[in-house]
């Protein structure tokens, strides 16, 4: 599984961080940092929740 963020869409709403904190972090500079581009399968449900909760539909999962 590969996590892809469209940074042209991302507005740092930080919902992804709430859903999958091991994969997404919005820091105090209010930019999103993807902590793991290829998270383990155990993270799939959390990453899928992050995809659904993103108000900008900016996150996609490949594979």
């Amino acid at each position: 599984m590969r996590v892809v963020v469209d940074y042209d869409l991302c507005e740092s709403n930080a919902l992804c961080m709430a859903a999958a904190p091991e994969v997404f972090e919005v820091r105090d500079d209010d930019f999103l940092y993807v902590l793991q581009d290829e998270p383990p399968e155990a993270q799939r449900a959390a990453v899928e929740e992050a995809v659904r909760r993103c108000p900008k539909q900016a996150i996609t999962i490949e594979g």
Partner: protein
């Protein structure tokens, strides 16, 4: 589990997320999705922002699924059809075209409809905004270059439409019957900050006044307010709230009271759940019966109701969350604000329109509001989730700031 046929009435966010959750949880039977619009599920927040300003093409609002494509869900669509009745005893939904859909499980997600100003139906140039087609119509009207637009109602829709219209360089008058914008969402103190945000951007703000008359020969020409002022306008957008779409359920035996009344697990009757703007339920976390019209609630409640239908019933007790983009500012609130809450700015500066404020009630923190501070809102949201005391919440904020 005796759930071969599931019918979802409502093809917007809550219904769509319910469908996705049913498939994610392994429901292999048929899922029929009934929607009264011709469009497949789409995302509404851009309708008052990027679609209105022409930055985003309407088709880009189509909702995606987390993995794969919407077609992978294998949904049986009934688009452009409305449900007109429900027969609980025979577990059947009636459609306007005469079709009868039998179900083993039913998800009610029919959303809400904008209230209209009475006496304006004969006038061109008076709009409400809820659907994609509404947004496209207003976009066209804005593209025609109106001299002044009146926005009636300064809730989320009105405030965002005012901001989007100003960003196109068009003059805007924003009219609100309450003393401040977003009063129901943010309370009086922070609503006043939003009023200033609009004034910063040159909006002609009228607060605490109502509309007496919207007037014109065949098109809107002027709007008369309760304080005696008369504004010459050639376009009006009305955003005075919504009413839950429950007409089709009248006489069905479901309890209707400002929405479909559910139990704490989103169950409205055996085999029937409700989610999103149409649903009212006791949120045990807040000890309050709520109907929440936020985007995030449609997602979470849609998924939750689907799980309840599958027999995995748990109490639905979220901390509500919303955001609203106005100009270059992002307003976010996690929790619930009430008019008499204590409000304290804990980070940043109101004057710079970049800050975080906490809302407190009965010794606890009940809300975190941010203006363009998303990371902090999300971090401190857990204080509301954990039911932190007001003093502990303030101490946590002070610690982070230090």
């Amino acid at each position: 589990m005796g759930l071969d046929r599931i019918v979802i009435v409502g093809a917007s966010l809550a219904g769509f997320r319910a469908a996705e959750e049913l498939r994610t949880r392994g429901h292999a039977g048929t899922i029929t999705v009934v929607g009264d619009e011709a469009h497949r599920p789409y995302d509404r927040p851009p309708l008052s922002k990027q679609v209105l300003t022409g930055v985003k093409p309407p088709e880009s609002t189509a909702l995606h699924v987390a993995s794969g494509s919407v077609d992978d869900l294998g949904l049986d669509w009934r688009l452009g059809e409305s449900a007109t009745g429900l027969d609980l005893a025979h577990r059947t939904v009636l459609l306007g075209g005469g079709e009868r859909l039998g179900y083993d499980g039913l998800v009610i997600a029919t959303g809400a409809s904008p209230r209209r100003l009475p006496g304006t139906d004969h006038l061109d140039g008076v709009h409400t905004l809820r659907s994609l087609d509404d947004s496209i119509a207003i976009r066209s009207a804005l593209a025609a270059g109106p001299r002044r637009v009146a926005v009636v109602g300064a809730g989320f829709i009105g405030a965002e439409v005012a901001a989007s219209t100003r960003s196109l360089g068009i003059d805007v008058s924003l009219i609100e019957a309450l003393p401040v914008p977003l009063e129901r969402g943010l309370g009086p103190q922070m609503g006043a900050v939003v009023a200033d945000l609009h004034r910063d951007h040159g909006v002609d703000v009228h607060l605490g006044v109502g509309v007496v008359l919207i007037d014109g020969s065949d098109r809107v020409e002027r709007i008369r307010l309760t304080d005696g002022s008369v504004l010459d306008v050639d376009l009006v957008v009305v955003g005075i709230g919504v009413s839950p779409n429950t007409e089709w359920l009248e006489g069905s035996g479901l309890t209707l009271d400002n929405g479909v009344v559910c139990d704490a697990t989103c169950l409205a009757a055996p085999g029937v759940v409700a989610a999103g703007d149409v649903a009212r339920w006791p949120n045990e976390r807040f000890g309050e019966v709520m109907r929440v019209e936020h985007w995030d609630n449609a997602i979470e409640m849609g998924g939750h109701a689907a799980r309840t239908l599958l027999g995995q019933a748990e109490a639905y007790a979220p901390v509500p969350w919303f955001w609203s983009d106005q100009y270059d500012r992002k307003i976010q609130l996690a929790g619930r604000a009430a008019a008499d809450d204590i409000v304290e700015v804990v980070s940043g500066s109101v004057e710079e329109r970049r800050f975080v404020a906490f809302y407190g009630r009965a010794g606890r923190i009940v809300g975190v509001l941010g203006m363009s501070q998303p990371a902090k809102v999300m971090r401190w949201r857990s204080l509301v989730e954990d039911g932190a005391s007001w003093d502990d919440a303030l101490a946590t904020a002070a610690e982070t700031a230090a």
